[in-house]
Every structure is written in structure tokens, then in C-alpha cells.
């Protein structure tokens, strides 16, 4: 097979990878399939940074480094051109085409991805993983799990509801509901507090295509930076031969703009994503992909040592700043983590992959915004009003690829305290209005309920003495699962809330 044949195969591999990525997200948490974190096992950036920050070697992360770096050592940035689902989406997004050909209008920007990489790795050495939210796989996983898929679920359900009202359309609805609801489609609509923001970030990355094709991959992607550095010594590379007639077609076809007429149409292996788009357009077989064993030459846009030092210094400064932020010393009242994930070391172990967000059956785990401070933006936090921690579930710990959320047995998880419930007696129906309610007590899943009821004589607003049954939280029993807050029948804010334990 020559490069042209491989070029014909590539879109299908890309399609398969995107479909697999989607299926893994949709299926995550629904029984045995491939591991939900499969793509992260080939993402060496989260792997490397994750192990540096946690100061320990984790199987899933080690695999990702060996697999990801190994692949780049042999085939260059083939991950970017063939497998990365975000890269594929960028290929599918229309991009700017110019009449006057100009391979790369912003060459100096290419160093941004390396500097971002340096920042992430230096920060990781100091225990900080905040900017892993810019890793393309975490970015896309979060966007699909908390924005795209829930929106799709809503649309499908709305369509079903409309169809169900029409008698002759009930058949297809019944089919979907019987076969997909509860397995592929969640029984209850998942809600996410930041879905619009998360979606806008993805849209923004795609929209950069309007400036140049694969803008993200050329200039910004920190994973692309890591794979690019390794690819400078990769085994298989594109070379230009003497039979090149300088027809410029390859340069026009190149989505990363790395084929440079000024350098005799040579390309930089650190920028080449091995997409092979140049192969079929080459008029005279003036190029080939061959094994090469010497490192690629330095180019003008490659970051200087001074720039690397500046990125490192910025990382040190940022870590210092985050260490002195409010959240570092005075945790937010609502910083409720997944079971067993308590403690400051959690943020040094969480690679922000977002798998726990998807496997949480109630969608209670949400990407945080304010609760975990700047350093914990988009790390998982439980929002009990949106979803409770299910007493019959320990999925997040089982799915977490780094052990940041420990793998607890169901028995242990049921004993793990993640917060404590407090009643707001100004809003609670029996407390504030003297009427009975007690849903929280009904919902409390503990064998010895953490919410107890007491019959009390009170003076009603009209002056009469009435007996009302009021709930109390027995704090030492409460594990903070939040089902009381989730099911509190008040509109808006619940009258019982889980707060940081």
C-alpha cells in the first residue's frame, strides 16, 4: 500500500474513532463494554501530567504514555491526523480558504502549543493539573458528556413525546423506549449547570477554523505540542525528492500549513499530522513517506530556551497564585466531592477527564465552576439539587482512571461521608409553615435514618395551637448523599442542603 491508499483509508479510520468515542461516552456506566476511559489510555498528555502531579505511577496513565509516545516515535503525529476525535471534528468543520495562497499566516503562534505544554508539565511537577481542561480529549469528553449528549437526549425525548400523542406513531416510540430507555437513553433528563459554557468552548475551538484550517491543532493544542516534540525524531517522515516540479498543490492541500514553498516544499514533522492529504495531489511523485533517523531541523517558530523558561516561570507563578487563592485554605460550603475523593490531594490526581461526570447515574456530579476555586475549575463536584449520590451506586470510583476517586466497594461507599445535611428552617414546610411534609425523611436511604421526625406543639400564625411533625438531621449519621436535598418538594432552592463535611 502506498501513501495514496492510506489516504483513502484515513477518513474511515477517523469516522470509526469518532463513533467509538461517542459510543464509549453514551455507554459509559451501562454495564461491561470497552473501558470508558479508552481514549485517555492513548492520551500521553493527561498520562504524563497526571503521574507527575500525583507523584505515582498508575497503570492506565502509564499505558497512555507508552502508547501515545510510542506511536509518535514511529509514525509522527498520526494520533492528530487519524485518531483524535477533536481533530476529526475540525476536519469536518468548514475552514477558510484564501485566493492568494499563504501556507501559514501566523507562524510565530505555533510556539503557543509548546509553551502551553511546558506550562502544564511544570505546573504538574508542582502538583497542579488545572490546565488539563485544555487537553483535547478532556475538552471533547466534557463537551459531549455534559452538553451535546444531554441536549440530544432532550431532543429525542421531545420528539418521542410529540410522536406518542399520534396513535400510529406509537410503535416507533414503544420500540425506542423498550430497547433504549434506561440503557442508552437515561430514564431522567440529565441537567448540567454549565452545559452552555462547556458547549461554547467547543464551538469556539471549532470556530477558529474560520481563521485557518485546524487552527487548534497548529497553534494551541498542548497534546499536539507534546506529540510534535516527539515527532521531531519520529521514524516515518515526509520527504521531497528531486522530481518535485513545485506545482504547490501539496502546500495548498496541507491542513496544518506546514508544507513551506520557501523551504523547497519540505514539511516540519512536528507540525505534520500524517494526514497524507498531500499524497494524491502530488503531480510527479515528488514526495514520499520514508524512514528517517536524524532529528528534524530547528525552525524559526520553534520556541527558544528563553521562551520555555518564561513558560516555566509562568507556571510557577500560577501555582503560587492558586496556592494562595481562597479555595486553597477555606473550602467552599458546597465543595462536595465524589465518595472518598475528599482532601487537597484530589486535585493533584484528577486529570479532569470527565468520565465520572458521565457514569454518575443521576448526573449529580457536575463540572465545578466556583466550588473548587480557580485551581479546580471543571473538576467534578456533587450538586445534590441536580442529582443525588445514589445509595446503590459506586460507579465513579470504579470508572476513575487515576484513582483520584478511590475504588470503593458498595459497602464502603455507603459508609463514606461526603457532606452533611442542614435544614433551613425558614423555608422547610413543617418548620416555616406548620404543615406536614417529611419527604426528606422518607428519602433518607440509611438503615438508621439520619433524618428523624418529632411531633411538636406549635402556635400557628392564626394563634391556634397545632401539632406538627418536624424533621431533624442526626448529623453523626448523615453521609451527605443529598437525596433529601434533591427531592425536597420546594421550588428552587431546597430547604435541606448538603454542605461540606
Amino acid at each position: 500500500m502506498n501513501a495514496r491508499t492510506f489516504r483513502r483509508v484515513r477518513p474511515w479510520v477517523q469516522l470509526a474513532a469518532v463513533l467509538l468515542f461517542l459510543v464509549l461516552i453514551v455507554r459509559a456506566g451501562n454495564g461491561r463494554f470497552l473501558p470508558a476511559d479508552l481514549f485517555f489510555r492513548a492520551d500521553p498528555l493527561t498520562g504524563l501530567a497526571g503521574m507527575l502531579a500525583a507523584e505515582r505511577v498508575t497503570a492506565a496513565l502509564l499505558i497512555s504514555v507508552i502508547l501515545g509516545i510510542g506511536l509518535a516515535l514511529v509514525l509522527g503525529r498520526v494520533w492528530c491526523g487519524w485518531l483524535c476525535p477533536l481533530g476529526t471534528l475540525l476536519d469536518w468543520t468548514p475552514s477558510r480558504r484564501t485566493r492568494n495562497f499563504e501556507p501559514d499566516p501566523l507562524p510565530r503562534l505555533r510556539s503557543v502549543k509548546y509553551l502551553l505544554l511546558a506550562f502544564i508539565l511544570i505546573a504538574a511537577l508542582l502538583g497542579n493539573l488545572t490546565l488539563l481542561i485544555l487537553d483535547p480529549i478532556t475538552l471533547l469528553y466534557r463537551a459531549f458528556a455534559t452538553a451535546v449528549w444531554p441536549a440530544l437526549v432532550w431532543l429525542i425525548t421531545a420528539a418521542e413525546r410529540a410522536m406518542y400523542a399520534v396513535p400510529f406513531l406509537r410503535g416507533p416510540v414503544d420500540f425506542i423506549e423498550t430497547n433504549l430507555r434506561g440503557t442508552v437513553l437515561p430514564v431522567e433528563q440529565p441537567l448540567y449547570g454549565l452545559n452552555v459554557l462547556v458547549a461554547l468552548v467547543l464551538v469556539g475551538v471549532l470556530a477558529l477554523n474560520a481563521i485557518r484550517s485546524r487552527f487548534w491543532c497548529r497553534y494551541l493544542c498542548p497534546l499536539g505540542g507534546l506529540l510534535g516534540l516527539v515527532s521531531r525524531v519520529s521514524w516515518l517522515r515526509r520527504t521531497v525528492s528531486d522530481s518535485c516540479i513545485e506545482c504547490r498543490r501539496c502546500a495548498r492541500a496541507c491542513p496544518t500549513g506546514t508544507i513551506d514553498p520557501a523551504r523547497g516544499f519540505a514539511s516540519d514533522p512536528a507540525e505534520c499530522i500524517m494526514c497524507l492529504d498531500c499524497a494524491p495531489v502530488c503531480a510527479r511523485a515528488g514526495q514520499q513517506f520514508t524512514p528517517i533517523l536524524i532529528p528534524a531541523p530547528r525552525l524559526a517558530y520553534d520556541p527558544t530556551r528563553r521562551q520555555f523558561l518564561a513558560a516555566g516561570a509562568a507556571a510557577v507563578a500560577a501555582v503560587g497564585l492558586l496556592g494562595a487563592e481562597r479555595a486553597a485554605g477555606r473550602p467552599h460550603l458546597r465543595l462536595i466531592r465524589a465518595p472518598g475523593a475528599q482532601g487537597p490531594e484530589f486535585l493533584s490526581q484528577c486529570i479532569r477527564c470527565g468520565v465520572c461526570l458521565k457514569v454518575c447515574p443521576t448526573a449529580g456530579l457536575q463540572p465545578s465552576f466556583t466550588e473548587a476555586g480557580w485551581s479546580g475549575v471543571w473538576s467534578p463536584v456533587l450538586a445534590p439539587r441536580l442529582g443525588y449520590c445514589d445509595y446503590s451506586c459506586n460507579a465513579c470510583g470504579q470508572a476513575c482512571p487515576t484513582g483520584a476517586i478511590p475504588k470503593l466497594t458498595l459497602e464502603d461507599k455507603r459508609l463514606t461521608v461526603i457532606g452533611k445535611a442542614y435544614i433551613n428552617i425558614d423555608r422547610c414546610i413543617p418548620w416555616a409553615d406548620g404543615r406536614s411534609c417529611l419527604v426528606c425523611e422518607e428519602m433518607c436511604p440509611l438503615p438508621e435514618k439520619a433524618i428523624i421526625l418529632r411531633d411538636e406543639q406549635i402556635i400557628a400564625p392564626d394563634g391556634s395551637a397545632v401539632e406538627v411533625r418536624r424533621p431533624y438531621v442526626v448529623r453523626e449519621r448523615c453521609i451527605g448523599c443529598g437525596i433529601c436535598e434533591n427531592k425536597c418538594p420546594l421550588v428552587g432552592e431546597a430547604a435541606i442542603r448538603v454542605e461540606t463535611a
Binding site: T157, V173, T183, C393, S436, C437, P445, P489
Partner: protein, 331 residues
């Protein structure tokens, strides 16, 4: 330009077609409650009836309410209790569609914790219905804690029902529809699971449990599993709403599982010390009478549970155990 025109024309067609579909749908919606009522009035069959006071006639020789007791298989207790109230054939005609509604309120514990209906009781009912020629027997509930599938599995009901030839159904959010609650005092209309409304026969199979806000959860309370907006019940007064719902959704048969009862920390349970083994199954076509009898298992009186008293006052059924024919079967 031509391409644009085509696209526009296509969109127009789609819009017209979907508008027509929506109109049809709305029309369908509006006509349904009426046809429902028309179907159910003459025979008294169907889960929905207009008049709250009508109870099906009791065949000669049958009991109004039966209680089977004894340290034998729970399925056998169930069969004996149902036989004493006229046999399953009284309720399930050949070709009927049947829904069995157990209490699977959460996915937390196995059946030995008595927070979910005994799987052997449910399986025995499914098998009886199949033997009576039911076209389909579906079993469903909507747990408040944990996913339906997890609850179905944990309760042991999924396996037992599959072995008995029935189907578990995940209650789908798209299948609820608003029905008038005729005779309702706190509520006049409510969204109810459509399949329950459309099924020929509904068999209500609660487990008898202590419950903080309801006192006890029994047959009438178990029907809260077929509505989605449960908060609305709490806001409008739980007991009156439960009674109101029972005026409209009327299971043909209520079988109360008291093989094990939960005496404290209900309805969720989780502590074996709160479980009391009674080896008892109650059956009656009268949901109020069945509930009334079940209160005695907890050393309470029917009038101690407000929804039972309200149900009796509204004519849904009889809570005075002295005026009905009760057959007690001891193993």
C-alpha cells in the same frame, strides 16, 4: 438559486407536515379521556372508571377479602389468597393485557430487607395471569432512589418475573398523560402513566411497610408509583391526594405482601432488626379493605391512616372490617 429554492420548499413541506402531525396529536390527546371513560363504564373493567363507588360484584362463594397465612412458600400463600377471592379468572380474561405494580421504591436492598415487594408473590401473580390466558403481563415501578433496572434486579423481581414469563418495563417519561381525577378533592387532574390507563387489568402488589409521612405504605400509597409529579402530592396534602388518585386509578385486584413487613426506618429500610416475618398475603378487589386489614398487622386501626379513612369516606371502598366477608386461610 435553484438549490436555495429547493431547500426552502423542502423546509416548508416539513413544517406543514409536522404542523399537521402536531394537530393530529393534540386532537388525539383531547379525545382520549372520553373514549377511555366510554370503554370502562359498561363492564367496569379497565383501570380507569368514572364512578368511584362501583366495585365489581363478588362471585358466589368467594370472600370479599382473603388472608393466607403460614410458614410456606410465599407464592403458595399468594395463590391461596387469590383463589379465595374468586380466582385470577375473575379478574383476568383470556387475551387481557395485565400490568402488575409491585413496590420497588429503591435499588438499595434485597427482598430480605422488606423494602420492596416479595419477588415470589409477584412471580406467582404473573404466572397465574399467564395461565389465565393474559396476552401480556408487564411488571413496573418507578423507584425514587437508584435506577429502575438496578431496582428491578436488586429486588429479585426482575429474575422472578422473567422466570414466570412476564416482562419488566421501564416506566417511560414520555408515556404519562393528564387525566381528570373525577371526584378528587385536592386534585382535579393529574399526569398518570399512560400504560396503566390503557391496560385491561391492573394488579396492585404493595409490600406492607412503615412510612414516616404516610404512617404506613400499603395499596393506595403504592399507586404513587404511577405518577411522576410526587412533589405536587406533598404540596397539596399527601393523604387527600392519595385518596383522590384512587378514585380514578382503580386496580382490579390488590394483593398486599406481608410475608415480611418493615416496622421502622421505612420506606427505604436496610436494617434487618426492623423486619418482621409474618408469612401473610392479603387479597381483595377492594383496595381500601385490603389496606384496612393490613393496618391490623401493625397493631393499628384503619382510621389511624388518614388516606384509608378518606378513601372510605369518598366511597372508594370499605374500611369497616366487621361488615365484609373475610376468609382467613391458615396453612
Amino acid at each position: 438559486m435553484i438549490r436555495h429554492f429547493d431547500r426552502r420548499a423542502f423546509l416548508k413541506q416539513v413544517f406543514v407536515a409536522s404542523a399537521a402531525g402536531a394537530t393530529l396529536g393534540l386532537a388525539g390527546c383531547r379525545s382520549q379521556p372520553a373514549s377511555q371513560a366510554a370503554n370502562s363504564v359498561p363492564s367496569g373493567s379497565g383501570a380507569v372508571t368514572e364512578s368511584p363507588t362501583t366495585l365489581p360484584a363478588i362471585p358466589a362463594g368467594s370472600a370479599y377479602l382473603a388472608v393466607a397465612r403460614g410458614a410456606i412458600d410465599a407464592g403458595e400463600l399468594t395463590r391461596r389468597a387469590i383463589a379465595a377471592v374468586g380466582g385470577i379468572e375473575r379478574f383476568v380474561k383470556p387475551g387481557a393485557t395485565v400490568i402488575v405494580k409491585p413496590n420497588i421504591c429503591n435499588a438499595y436492598h434485597g427482598p430480605e430487607y422488606a423494602s420492596t415487594t416479595n419477588p415470589d408473590v409477584v412471580a406467582a401473580i404473573v404466572a397465574l395471569c399467564k395461565a389465565a390466558g393474559a396476552q401480556s403481563v408487564r411488571v413496573m415501578d418507578f423507584p425514587f432512589g437508584g435506577s429502575p433496572q438496578a431496582g428491578y434486579k436488586m429486588s429479585g423481581i426482575a429474575d422472578a418475573v422473567a422466570a414466570a414469563g412476564g416482562d419488566m418495563e421501564v416506566m417511560s417519561g414520555v408515556k404519562y398523560r393528564e387525566v381528570p381525577i373525577t371526584g378528587g378533592k385536592a386534585i382535579q387532574k393529574w399526569e398518570v402513566y399512560g400504560e396503566i390507563l390503557d391496560s385491561d387489568v391492573v394488579i396492585n402488589v404493595p409490600i406492607a411497610k412503615q412510612h414516616g409521612s404516610a404512617g404506613l405504605t400499603l395499596g393506595m400509597k403504592n399507586l404513587m408509583g404511577i405518577i411522576q409529579n410526587r412533589n405536587g402530592f406533598h404540596a397539596r396534602g399527601l393523604h387527600q391526594c392519595i385518596a383522590d388518585l384512587s378514585t380514578t386509578v382503580r386496580p382490579q385486584l390488590t394483593v398486599i405482601d406481608a410475608v415480611r413487613i418493615l416496622t421502622a426506618n421505612g420506606p427505604t429500610g436496610g436494617n434487618l432488626d426492623d423486619v418482621k416475618r409474618l408469612d401473610t398475603v392479603i387479597a381483595s378487589a377492594d383496595i381500601v379493605a385490603a389496606d384496612a386489614y393490613a393496618t391490623t398487622l401493625f397493631d393499628l386501626r384503619p382510621e389511624d391512616i388518614p388516606y384509608i379513612r378518606l378513601g372510605s369516606e369518598m366511597g372508594i371502598g370499605q374500611m369497616d372490617l366487621k361488615v365484609i366477608k373475610i376468609e382467613e386461610i391458615a396453612a
